[in-house]
């Protein structure tokens, strides 16, 4: 039988897959991360994560620092959500030592923690927009984030590396100036989110780029240990703040936004909605905050009894867990950090396969990683 033109063409056409090294210096790897792409034309057939460029040995460092001294180190984990890392760590130590935190301090932690979540999500939506070449979206998100950082500066003196919680409380009380600024922010922020929706979320090209891209179903997500907004985007309603409340989160009323398809667009939408919910929590916290001390009576030298504890909070990117082992001395015997970014990155090769390079960039942006937390 004679072959048709196309068959002859295909038979004679030799194609070859190429290996493309994306990173560690690349505009959209969100830090020093590298992945080895195997490409068939523009399509990704295989993807391999390479990480560790930012490894600083945080867990080992903890073994040589006192419990209090390690707080500033947690700032450098997920540097976009320092407050949440701080809170998670001090709560772990408090759990180990059975310390009761004063009410006011708890409320301050909630306010700052939720503000931090908004700030982190703003970087997420901003850099997401940037990764589809919407540079204007990035600038708008950063404009709003800047206001949150200014608020942080008012109470902690620092914009990003806050280190403001202490074991048994917080280091600074909130001031009138802060409350005023926060109220103004709460008033303005919904309009900013709507503006962002108009600029990025509603854009036809943006939706075409993200819908149906990098679909992560619930089963795969759970198998890979995905948590937080990424899991919720897949349609599984689970939020530690609601289902296993820590601190005083059981007192607040808020919804858990979930996605339907688990694609990149849902992951984006979930975070947009979460910012609105965080705002609700902040409003309630600001309304209910009682007067009182901000620091519990704790021993001068933090020396927990021998034992071990695991504590996890709902971080900005998923479950942020600390596993702490004490041998009765002033330093942790062992500290293990469960970083959500690391877990989220694990599923990246799985869901990026089959798409083209542009999809891979969108998916990497959508799973929200911070290399400081991936490599620790």
């Amino acid at each position: 039988m004679e072959m048709s033109n196309i068959q002859v063409y295909k038979k004679n056409l030799k194609t070859q897959e190429i290996t493309l090294n994306m990173g560690p210096q690349h505009p959209s790897t969100h830090g020093v991360y590298r992945c080895i792409l195997t490409l068939d034309g523009e399509y990704v057939t295989h993807l391999e994560n390479v990480m560790g460029y930012l490894h600083r040995g945080m867990e080992k460092l903890a073994e040589d620092r006192t419990y209090t001294q390690f707080i500033p180190y947690t700032d450098r984990l997920d540097y976009l959500a320092a407050a949440l890392n701080n809170i998670g760590y001090v709560q772990t130590v408090e759990k180990l030592m059975d310390i009761e935190v004063p009410e006011r301090a708890e409320y301050i932690r909630v306010i700052v923690g939720e503000l931090q979540r908004i700030a982190s999500h703003l970087v997420y939506v901003g850099s997401y927009a940037l990764d589809v070449n919407g540079f204007t979206g990035w600038m708008y998100a950063f404009r709003d984030r800047e206001r949150i950082l200014d608020l942080f500066e008012m109470i902690t003196g620092s914009r990003m590396t806050l280190s403001f919680p202490r074991i048994g409380g917080v280091s600074h009380d909130i001031t009138d100036e802060f409350v005023e600024g926060l109220e103004k922010f709460i008033e303005d922020f919904p309009a900013c989110l709507d503006e962002f929706d108009g600029l990025v979320t509603g854009n036809e090209i943006f939706q075409a780029r993200t819908k149906g891209v990098g679909v992560l179903d619930v089963e795969t997500a759970i198998n890979y240990g995905i948590s937080g907004p990424n899991l919720r985007a897949s349609g599984y309603e689970f939020d530690l703040r609601k289902h296993d409340p820590y601190g005083i989160y059981d007192r607040f009323e808020f919804d858990i936004p979930t996605g339907e398809n688990g694609d990149s667009f849902d992951r984006f939408i979930v975070r947009m909605e979460e910012m609105r919910q965080s705002l609700r929590i902040i409003k309630q916290a600001l309304r209910d905050i009682p007067d009182g001390p901000i620091q519990a009576k704790v021993p001068k030298v933090i020396k927990p009894k021998a034992g071990e504890v695991y504590h996890q909070i709902e971080g900005a990117k998923g479950w942020l867990g600390y596993y702490l082992v004490s041998d009765g001395s002033t330093k942790p015997y062992r500290l293990h950090i469960h970083g959500p970014s690391f877990v989220n990155l694990g599923v990246f090769p799985e869901i990026a396969k089959g798409g083209n390079i542009q999809d891979a960039v969108v998916i990497l942006a959508s799973i929200d990683i911070v290399l400081g937390e991936v490599d620790r």
């Binding site: 990764d131 589809v132 070449n133 204007t136 600038m139 708008y140 090209i205 542009q358 960039v361």
Partner: protein, 344 residues
């Protein structure tokens, strides 16, 4: 005022003739002067277009933009160019040296050649070819080869992917671009720039051919490799696409060509759809500049608001949307012309 540049040209010509030079020598020198004038126009425009782009993007993004060097940052781009000229000329070891170096020249030549047929004002056109529009399209499409050369010559995978994307994109978007122009050509019955302008004396073709203008604008954006069609550069995926390995002045030439093409494309849009260099009160060349800058602003506005399209959607938009639409436009225009002839 209207004939300022024309009188200037004639003055120079008479002065040259009075020096006792032969007619051939005078016309040769006049050509050189015209080329220099066009180059000056292009380079000055590009220099301030970069500044304009940065300012416009800054205002869209609620920033200030360059404001340190010179008054209101006006000297910023000049300083940038000086920096670029003084940079080391790097050619990667693995690159195909000849192709790599040639690409930077090949990309710039058509960018300047385009201006030969652009009417800067009334009677201010270097050569009023009777196939002016055809010449423009033909020359502008040769830019493709330069990108392919740069992509291949760099011997870099990102560059190669960028080069391939450029070819795919520019070759396919050329078709709706030409078809959209065809509507205008049908109305005028001439490919000559001056005829097209003359035909728009009463009504601009943007009114008669709104769909053609839309297609022209979209396809033009793609031809210029500007967002949302800037896939050949695709910063987030391909670093800088075909120009990844270029640095210093060689890179600047690519940049220059890009902006030069932007001006040329805007000028073509003005000529075809916005009545060319004509308008009340002010001299025609001032109107030309104003209209061109309105077009450029449109291109920039789109660039700073839209995200980048995906490579397969790019092809879909072209073959499944723009091409049928442009064909339909030609059909409707043809029927319209017949009906018009019938009644008049």
């Amino acid at each position: 005022m209207e004939r300022l540049f024309l009188n200037l040209g004639e003055g120079i010509q008479q002065w040259l003739a009075s020096l006792g030079l032969g007619a051939t020598a005078v016309s040769l020198i006049m050509v050189a002067i015209k080329v220099a004038a066009i180059l000056g126009f292009v380079l000055l425009n590009v220099l301030y277009l970069v500044y304009l782009e940065r300012k416009i993007s800054a205002y869209i993004q609620q920033r200030l933009g360059p404001n340190r060097v010179g008054p209101r940052g006006l000297l910023q781009t000049t300083m940038d160019v000086i920096k670029l000229i003084s940079k080391e000329d790097i050619i990667p070891q693995a690159a195909d040296r000849k192709v790599f170096r040639l690409a930077a020249i090949v990309v710039f030549i058509p960018a300047v050649m385009l201006y030969a047929v652009i009417p800067f004002g009334k009677d201010m056109i270097a050569i009023d070819l009777n196939i002016g529009v055809f010449y423009f399209i033909a020359v502008s499409s040769t830019t493709t080869i330069a990108f392919l050369m740069a992509g291949w010559g760099s011997n870099n995978k990102y560059s190669l992917l960028g080069g391939m994307r450029t070819v795919a994109q520019m070759v396919s978007y050329e078709i709706p671009l030409v078809f959209s122009i065809l509507g205008v050509i049908m109305l005028t019955g001439s490919l000559k720039m001056s005829d097209i302008i003359a035909a728009q004396k009463d009504v601009w073709f943007i009114v008669l051919q709104p769909i053609a203008f839309l297609i022209f604008f979209i396809a033009g954006t793609a031809e210029l490799n500007r967002a949302p069609f800037d896939l050949p550069e695709g910063e987030q995926e391909l670093i800088a696409g075909a120009t990844t390995e270029y640095s210093g002045m060689r890179w600047a030439i690519f940049f220059l060509a890009e902006y030069s093409n932007l001006v040329a494309m805007s000028a073509l849009a003005v000529t075809l759809f916005l009545g060319g260099p004509s308008g009340p009160w002010a001299p025609s060349w001032i109107w030309f500049v104003i209209k061109v800058y309105i077009m450029i602003y449109l291109f920039m506005w789109v660039r700073w608001t839209f995200p980048r399209i995906r490579v397969d959607h790019l092809m879909h938009t072209n073959w499944k949307f723009l091409l049928p639409l442009s064909l339909a436009n030609i059909l409707v225009t043809g029927i319209g012309i017949k009906i018009f002839e019938w009644f008049s």
